[in-house]
Symmetry: C2
Subunit: 350 residues, 2 copies
């Protein structure tokens, strides 16, 4: 599949219809693996890095169905294309910004992405729409088995999989759930929830991972520790906490309708109005407005608007996608104009 | 004419179609007069005040066409009705809040209002849509002549008409022009203009007179001094300054289109969007948004919207009118909801 096709297709992790899709956008399971007998990336010279990448490309494509996966070289790729893949969560910001030979295999429906030469030799990621921790894990596990049939990964009987960063040693598993929690934000309960989450050794991040601010009331919650616990335990703890947060968000949504339905409608309708009329709009404002509109649709306060279109706008209004769409590099103020135009086009109000 | 009819009719000073109506909402000429041989209001006891009011009512109605004027007693009037007349600029806040017997004669099309027992015995006001200083003055002068045929006003050969406040002594004339100056505000030139105006001994006030903030980018500019100058001089100075301000505002509007047409459209379209979608809206926000929409219509950035409807909303979204419309006293948050609903109804987007 061509890169342009990928970048202009709907993203599977934003597709509505998954379990609990009113609150959970998507589930991700990631495994970190390194090839036995080869040093970690930071210890490789450029030739060794080239050689590793070629080896991984061949092994990954051979292990999986090669007609359903496409391998992309990051160092051949334009800045805008790399940015788009980051925005689609198909590659990490680290892989996009890295040096030397590095690649990614992108699988069917953009649900699977396997990065080579990121922090670890291999990073396998599986996405599923809505809350699907078990399914995503089983799929990742099956792919991992097929890779292990061809590649020997560094593994310690005491510690488990060895990784470049100690936080990933053990299972190498990071499971993460992307939640849309506008009602907890509006009712000022979000801090309380996150404090409880932190005590359970889970991490909270914004829409674009570590170091990014939570925007559009979207939060990723994931396990912090990989060591000394089985994959089963990790997923169970996370699943229990997510179920609790979903219950809190539902309760908060109920309270919004009970306590201040007009204020809720006002927020939803103003957000819809601005999205469909603005001529200049920043990325931050867009996410905040999309969040309110998403809430309004799921709470049936705003009718006749396609939720899939709204979900996709979380992605297509990002910097990389906007520039890809226009086929040109755009400065900030040009992006703010192009963003407003794209939104009006997509929402059918141009 | 019934009071309810007056309060629910379009207000003549907000009617589009007057000269320079893209910038000038209305012109007002006011004359202050006191009856010879009777002390000023502050020196009258209640019985004398009653007697004066009865005398003025009889004299005014006899001097003018009594079938075209209606006399209203303020002390019989509900709080909400008084508020509505203030919002329509038919009576002053002082008359509304005053004590004892006091009244107002309201003439054809709400263009003429004659207050009895305000600060002075009589305050005659003539309104005209757009910029019509000469016409409004001639009409006021003609009415003044007819009143003087029946009533002797206190007059000093040296000073001119004597009034309760020294600032009105002389002509008793205050001419004022209500201007909509959004482009001068947006381009941050408004302070400069007002400093120049102040040096010419003209006063700048907000939409609701002395002590009210300028809201919705609407400003009233009037002469400060009544003494030692003829009516002709007063009107000429004011007219010259107003013509200059109109030219500045036009220039600023031109610059908005030239320098940042998208920013202008963004402001206009966002304002329109919020007005037509909000469920809760304050009075201040309403005036700011109406200002942008009015600008957008006159600059042909927003089409298919009736300017008369928009002008009327400056009035019908005020506290008194909202309550009158609902036939009930409303608290602030109820008003904010009722205001949003009224706006959507009037703009045909409910």
């Amino acid at each position: 599949m061509k890169l342009d096709k990928i970048i202009t297709s709907p993203s599977s992790w934003l597709k509505p219809g998954g379990p609990n899709d009113d609150i959970v956008l998507s589930t991700r399971v990631r495994l970190a693996r390194n090839v036995a007998g080869r040093p970690f990336l930071s210890r490789l010279n450029p030739d060794e890095q080239n050689d590793l990448e070629a080896y991984l490309k061949q092994a990954v494509l051979a292990a999986l169905k090669p007609d359903r996966y496409t391998w992309f070289e990051l160092d051949d790729m334009s800045q805008i294309d790399r940015q788009c893949l980051v925005e689609r969560h198909l590659i990490s910001r680290e892989l996009a910004a890295g040096e030397g030979r590095r690649g990614v295999a992108i699988g069917p429906k953009q649900r699977i992405a396997i990065m080579a030469n990121e922090e670890d030799h291999l990073r396998l990621q599986v996405y599923a729409p809505g809350l699907q921790l078990q399914d995503a894990w089983q799929e990742a596990d099956a792919i991992d088995d097929r890779l292990e049939a061809r590649v020997t990964f560094t593994f310690s009987p005491n510690l488990g999989y060895l990784t470049a960063c100690p936080t990933n040693v053990g299972t190498g598993l990071r499971a993460s759930v992307m939640l849309h929690l506008p009602a907890l934000v509006l009712t000022r309960q979000i801090e309380k929830v996150f404090n409880a989450v932190a005590r359970l050794r889970l991490a909270v991040r914004g829409l674009y991972g570590e170091g990014t601010q939570a925007t559009g009331d979207i939060y990723q919650i994931s396990n912090q520790a990989c060591l000394g616990r089985t994959e089963h335990d990790i997923l169970e703890t996370l699943g229990t906490v997510i179920a609790q947060i979903i219950a809190y968000e539902k309760e908060a949504r109920g309270a919004l309708v009970t306590d201040s339905p007009t204020a809720l409608d006002d927020r939803v309708m103003r957000s819809w109005a601005i999205l469909t009329h603005a001529r200049i709009i920043s990325s931050e404002e867009t996410l905040a407005l999309l969040s309110a509109v998403r809430l309004g649709i799921h709470m049936k306060r705003l009718k006749g608007v396609n939720i899939g279109t709204v979900n996709e706008l979380f992605l297509t209004t990002r910097r990389g996608h906007l520039q890809k769409l226009r086929g040109a590099e755009l400065g900030e103020s040009e992006r703010d104009g192009a963003r407003a135009e794209t939104i009006r086009e997509r929402l059918g109000t141009n």
